[in-house]
């Protein structure tokens, strides 16, 4: 009963005319930012932060939140149509989404991404409002050993993902881990591989790396290919072309459900969120699928699962922020700043001290998800038409957005140079048929792995026992070990079978 009256309070706040308008502005801006590669939610929010100072705090957070989860919707559009992730968390969507588009199924790919995001987003919001504070407490049980074990499990899963050509996949993982060691040593603070450059002291920015390897490299590919093959993919212009078929729905239902659960849980962990969630979902779907060979060749599960996980993850990150005052990433840290300006300290007392804010924001997320679906499905054609320009105009425009995006991360020109370097590296990798996705993921996880591994050892005076005496960490490691053993067993059996077959042939 209490829950219903809270929700009623929330909706009365969220549905007031001006809050509805702020929500609409937020999700619209978010979608646009998501579509434009390079310009990310963090840059947008910090640009808009001063505007919110004059707004009521609830409206400010409603709008900023709308931008944040709006980007999760928009990021998939460029991934599918251009193979350029609009956001780092849409990297996985490129793999099968773009492949679907190349096979003439851009419509259903865009459609399932929007519907999957809607379903996952809505379920995540319901979960936030029902289990709220109780679940947030769980996130605190993740200390350094749990993070380290989770990353080990994640790295094992990436090796699985690249099983088609494990050597190439592992090479990319290794390169990603090596790149992640550039910058300040996370424990001692000494510089590593920086060659005295202040810009390298912070390490390589993940967004620059992803934009260079995926975005700039793709544009360079287009520039090197003969134009008749380099045509941008035909986009669906009719609403009906966007609707997934019944068969598509049957294949996507499971991935959407599982993606939602994975995304929600990973979103609760500080430092987790969209990127890890979408990769985890992709790997899981590929494992569970009866048609794993279709992954990478346009499997709709590979779009539905990760997009749902990404969205659920993004929405779930609000829970630790609003109930514990812990921002999971830089975007939420900026939102926390917006609250602080208005004299509201996010934390355990927020729900009781400012119920209209907490429940208003939660209710606005229900509203925002509906708005996004309504906006996205008919307007995909509009967003897409931005991309229908001749590519002699479009490609430089996208490149410019990538450059502006890289520059706006830190207002540092060095990031633009790095974007160019990674663009060339990405072109080289692509020509040599290496997949940059494992590199980017290993890079993202590498920093977390090194830091949490070394923190764990510090906590226990250097003893690795720390991983075995903690149930959550130990079970992650056990799962990772089981997966490795299973893979090794399978490989050995395959070799045995091959040698038996070889012997029989003799």
């Amino acid at each position: 009963m209490d829950f219903l009256s809270n929700l009623e309070l929330g909706f009365s706040v969220a549905l007031s005319a001006h809050n509805l308008l702020y929500c609409l502005i937020g999700v619209f801006l978010g979608t646009a930012v998501g579509v434009l590669p390079g310009l990310g939610p963090a840059a947008t929010l910090s640009l808009l932060l001063p505007i919110t100072f004059g707004m009521p705090p609830t409206s400010a957070v409603i709008m900023l939140a709308g931008i944040y989860y709006g980007t999760a919707y928009g990021g998939s559009i460029t991934s599918i149509l251009l193979n350029i992730p609009g956001e780092a968390s849409s990297v996985v969507t490129c793999i099968d989404g773009h492949e679907m588009a190349r096979r003439g199924r851009a419509g259903p790919a865009l459609g399932i991404a929007a519907f999957g995001s809607f379903i996952a987003g809505t379920i995540a919001v319901v979960a936030i409002s029902v289990v709220g504070p109780a679940v947030a407490g769980m996130a605190l049980r993740f200390g350094p050993p749990e993070y380290a074990a989770l990353v080990v499990l994640g790295l094992v899963l990436i090796c699985f993902m690249s099983e088609a050509d494990m050597v190439r996949g592992l090479t990319m993982v290794a390169l990603g881990l090596l790149l992640s060691t550039i910058g300040l040593d996370p424990i001692l603070g000494s510089e590593r591989f920086t060659f005295g450059s202040t810009s390298l002291a912070d390490g390589i920015n993940l967004a620059v790396l992803a934009m260079g390897l995926f975005g700039v490299a793709e544009l360079l590919m287009i520039a090197t290919r003969p134009p008749e093959q380099a045509e941008f993919l035909r986009q669906p212009t009719r609403l009906r072309a966007l609707l997934p078929s019944r068969a598509d729905w049957r294949r996507s239902a499971g991935p959407i459900g599982r993606g939602t659960v994975i995304g929600f849980i990973l979103g609760l962990i500080p430092g987790g969120g969209g990127i890890i969630a979408s990769f985890a979902s992709y790997v899981l779907e590929k494992r569970l699928s009866r048609r794993p060979e279709e992954f990478g060749k346009g499997a709709i599960e590979g779009v539905a699962g990760p997009e749902s996980a990404n969205n659920a993850g993004v929405q779930a990150t609000f829970l630790p922020l609003l109930t514990l005052g812990l921002p999971a990433n830089v975007v939420l840290a900026i939102m926390m700043g917006a609250l602080l300006v208005h004299g509201i300290t996010p934390g355990p007392r927020l729900v009781t001290d400012h119920p209209e804010l907490f429940w208003g924001v939660v209710a606005s997320m229900y509203v925002g998800n509906v708005l996004l679906l309504v906006l996205n499905v008919p307007l995909i054609a509009v967003f897409v038409s931005m991309l229908r320009l001749p590519y002699a105009i479009l490609a430089p425009l996208i490149l410019m957005f990538c450059i502006v995006g890289a520059y706006s991360l830190n207002n540092n020109v060095a990031d633009v140079y790095m974007l160019g370097v990674f663009g060339l590296l990405g072109l080289g990798l692509r020509l040599a048929r290496f997949d940059p996705a494992p590199l980017v993921l290993a890079f993202a996880l590498g920093q977390l792995l090194e830091q949490s591994l070394r923190q764990s050892l510090l906590m226990r005076q250097g003893s690795p026992v720390v991983f075995l005496e903690r149930p959550i960490a130990a079970s992650f490691l056990a799962l990772a070990a089981t997966l490795l053993l299973a893979a090794a067993y399978k490989e050995l059996r395959r070799r045995a079978a091959a040698s038996v077959a070889g012997a029989a042939a003799l």
Binding site: A139, D202, P226
Partner: protein, 328 residues
């Protein structure tokens, strides 16, 4: 056919690169009657934090007073070094100021190479706030005071772990100085950025933590503040003693101020300093500091410069003493 189509594409892409880079390189130039054009305040940390919001509030005040736009620009990176380098390189005409705090100025240069000298390359204009940091433990732990915690550390060498925002941070140096003064060994577990270290304390993964943002958790009883670092008691924790009150004489450089490049005309420094101090007297500014858990301590140009110089020397001695110097 293929060739003719491809060439304009490559050319236009090159053009786009050129255009964007030249836009980034464009910069403002000097003037005579101050201020006759927009002033830029470079904040060397991200938008929305305790280092960002006070200068933003001051910028809004200056804008009204001077009838000139005052732009706040976040230039992050290198734990504050990137933004400060930009300030050091700017023209000393009063149109470029930057946030000035201890870690990138009097601490970082002792641990690694930075492209400026904190004493020679800046003109301190005004101190606008003071960082205040409580040392906290979980309420479920038996330690009620700093002495309890130190006694536990003495009995169990290396078993007491504490988290901070990072190696070489002011928090880390303070804790190591405390350990040295108490002749105990504490194990430092550094996190990059604040939230991780706070979560580690609240989740019970480390025994103690020294962090400005912990004050709000201490105020709600989620953790127990044993003492706080600051020149006065913490505004949100009036019952918690300062380390000074407990008899510790450990120095900590806690100022947050605004500074310009070296060589600014004294008349402009005075004009800016007076206007900034006026802004800090505004009741809404004082409220903001309270919200951000910052101490209300301000100083004019001369006093701020003296404070920076004194802390620079103290930090040098302290870090030398702790063996915290750049690996040669």
């Amino acid at each position: 056919m293929a060739r003719t189509l491809r060439r304009p594409l490559v050319a236009s892409m090159l053009l786009a690169v050129g255009a964007t880079l030249s836009m980034a390189a464009a910069r403002a130039e000097s003037a005579d009657t101050f201020p006759s054009k927009p002033i830029t305040i470079i904040v060397n940390f991200g938008a929305g934090g305790p280092t960002d919001l006070p200068p933003r509030r001051i910028a809004a005040y200056l804008e009204k007073k001077f009838k000139q736009p005052v732009v706040v620009e976040n230039r992050t990176g290198g734990a504050g070094v990137v933004g400060l380098s930009a300030v050091a390189r700017a023209a000393p005409d009063g149109y470029t100021l930057g946030t000035f705090s201890a870690s990138p100025t009097v601490i970082a240069p002792r641990l690694r190479t930075v492209p400026y000298n904190a004493r020679k390359d800046f003109t301190p204009v005004a101190q606008i706030a003071e960082y205040a940091m409580p040392l906290c433990v979980l309420p479920t732990r038996p330690w009620k005071s700093v002495a309890d915690l130190m006694a536990h550390a003495r009995a169990n060498p290396g078993a007491v772990t504490y988290s901070t925002v990072g190696t070489g941070s002011g928090q880390h140096i303070f804790m190591e100085a405390l350990a040295k003064a108490e002749k105990v060994k504490l194990a430092h577990v550094p996190f990059s950025g604040g939230a991780g270290g706070i979560a580690a304390l609240l989740g019970g993964h480390v025994q103690g933590a020294l962090d400005a943002a912990l004050a709000k958790h201490a105020a709600t009883g989620e953790c127990r503040a044993l003492a706080s670092v600051g020149s006065a008691r913490h505004p949100a924790l009036p019952d918690v003693p300062t380390f000074k009150e407990l008899g510790y004489t450990i120095d900590a450089a806690l100022w947050l101020g605004l500074a310009g490049p070296a060589g600014m005309p004294q008349a402009i420094v005075d004009k800016l300093s007076a206007a900034i101090l006026e802004a800090t007297e505004d009741p809404s500014y004082k409220d903001l500091l309270k919200q951000l858990l910052l101490g209300d301590k301000t100083a004019g140009s001369a006093a701020f410069r003296a404070q920076v110089a004194a802390d620079d020397e103290r930090m040098a001695a302290m870090m030398n003493d702790l063996g915290m110097t750049a690996p040669k």
